[in-house]
Symmetry: C4
Subunit: 209 residues, 4 copies
């Protein structure tokens, strides 16, 4: 029903639990060697065979950790959880839950275009609902919980960068495969630029992010 | 012992943890493709082969998420956890824990009647204990925690709708298989009607749900 | 170092998380049918083949749930977590973590004596550390947190019953296998007797358990 | 952005969740016997075949439990979570998440040098980030949250011991395999000595650790 308000503490602890379980389940995808493999190969070879799995674990671990940090960052400014925030949050968590599968799919077909594009689709879906939270919450709270209009813009662009880069990576997966796989580096570059632009403004407003 | 009271905070956080683990374990049922499958099929075909699994994930994810929301909704009005609430809650969690198995069973036998009926049985068992919580808590709290008699009725019927629809879906699984699979849509229709009926009454009582 | 005190809130939430994960992992042991099995057998037969797994899930679910309830019950009376409580608690959690394995072992060898005895050993180990917590905490708190000497005795015997019954079940597994498997029913009978004995005393003390 | 502060409660509950999930996932590595194995071997033989797995579970369980205790110990003295603490904490959790894989790898190649060295590498990586937290937090808090300079030194050396021992165990894995496997016992010996040295100083300062 409209106007309904949910327990913020529970929404946050449920989200934290989903983030933490998904991040820990990632390890299940790195298969322990069989006795046969242990006889045929030494430790370095066994680890070499798992390079795609290990890259997958590292990338997805960083992605989940960063979205969890983003979740902490924006939820700090929420006064009450209404139905819309709850819904966006549940969709966000759905794509977090899907990530261990996407990671495993991408890792198995490490050199293929399709699985990588699917992985990018998953990441951009997470990015999309994070973006929705980051534009809706400042609008809802109207500056009363400490989000100034400058901070709101900073949050918006920050969320937008990750979303767009993963969409682009998904598209370029088919056109320029190697470029697509390095595209995520632009997230860090663009975020660094964003921080540079907004730092002064935020300090002059005395807003500590 | 009768009259015993339990730590509400712990009961809620334990429940949240079980909900979140069950919802995240669902992804384990979508099997990552083998190298053999990756060679024989392209990404779209691989995803097509997983349509039952993905539908299973989506449906069960939504189901668990909605019962978690229902749990938040009713627990807001609980002052103390007595033995009866604790027991209903543990039974509810048992059938939440069972859901990843029921989902996998239903997904494997996607076109079969039996596995779908078993899945409906699991969902109606969750619905049943949710219903028990929704009728017992208003009775126990006697309006002192903010549940008016109108709100109590609204909660009761809301919980009843989902329970009855899943029981019916389980029965119709054998009589009208395709109809049974679409029956869950009635939950949303009936809930929309219920909201329409109770909205005015709840507003006139100044009860924000 | 002696005298060190730990964050009670964290110890409890960590314990709750371990209890809830172990209880949810139990479902992984009920294997979803393969396509081959689905073709050869109908739903009832498939479920019949899983009767040991389902019994294992139900029994271990109840056991973990009851020890979690016991944990809530005794921890309510703890003022501070010292090293000794922390240690007993970690040992208790170790045997909770082991339970999904013991359950799977017992379920696979459902009619065998050894696996059942191992399962009983696991349950009695959980019971043992629960017992240690139930005798140490009243001694440590010296009645200051609300544990009267009558209540302390009630807690002690209650914890003792479950421990002894599982030890006996493990021993009788080799002597009277069928009797051993029904022995756990005595836990409920003896607890009911215990409640009868202590109820009046506790009420006369105005101690609501 | 520099100066950003994160929700301490969420960082701690997320960490607790990761610790507890990793510690519980360890059990998945002890494989339940197949029906074939159950027919060919009795319970004792089956358990004997799992001695490496069980040792792996016990060692890794203790390791995770001890680092969780260390996490509780140091986090008690943190006033606010800044970016640096958050980052160290996320790296620490990464290597906690990796541990179920390292444990499985080490257990499968129980008598081999390489897998054991990899396991030691994982443990020393955990130890390294624990060490960074233990030297950074006292520096950041400047004694305001109760860490005296004596206590800071005690924390530093305590974290250093475990880190160095696991590095050494990794190196000796190739030179003196049997010695390397017993080296961890020095952690307990050196910590006992450390406690002896610092006990008086801490008591004279009235610092209860």
């Amino acid at each position: 029903m409209k106007g309904e308000i949910f327990d913020k503490q529970r929404v946050i602890s449920f989200s934290d639990a989903v983030f933490s379980i998904a991040i820990t389940l990632l390890v299940l995808d790195i298969v322990a060697p069989t006795y046969k493999e242990l006889k045929a190969a030494d430790t370095l070879q066994i680890l070499q065979n798992r390079i795609p799995s290990i890259i997958g674990l590292i990338v997805s671990f960083i992605v989940i950790a960063l979205y969890w940090v983003a979740h902490m960052r924006i939820m700090k400014y929420v006064s009450t959880i209404n139905k819309k925030i709850l819904r966006y949050n549940i969709f966000l968590l759905f794509f977090i839950v899907l990530l261990p599968f996407s990671t495993a799919f991408y890792v198995r077909g490490f050199m293929l275009k399709g699985p990588f594009a699917f992985y990018c689709f998953n990441l951009s879906a997470i990015g999309f609902f994070n973006y929705l939270l980051n534009i809706y919450i400042p609008k809802k709270e109207k500056g009363l919980t400490g989000i100034t209009s400058v901070l709101a813009k900073y949050f918006k662009y920050r969320a937008l960068i990750a979303f767009i880069i993963w969409v682009l990576a998904g598209i370029f997966a088919f056109l320029l495969p190697m470029f697509a796989r390095l595209l995520f580096l632009f997230i860090f570059i663009l975020e660094a630029i964003l921080v540079k632009i907004y730092k002064k403004k935020l300090i002059s407003e005395k807003t500590i992010v």
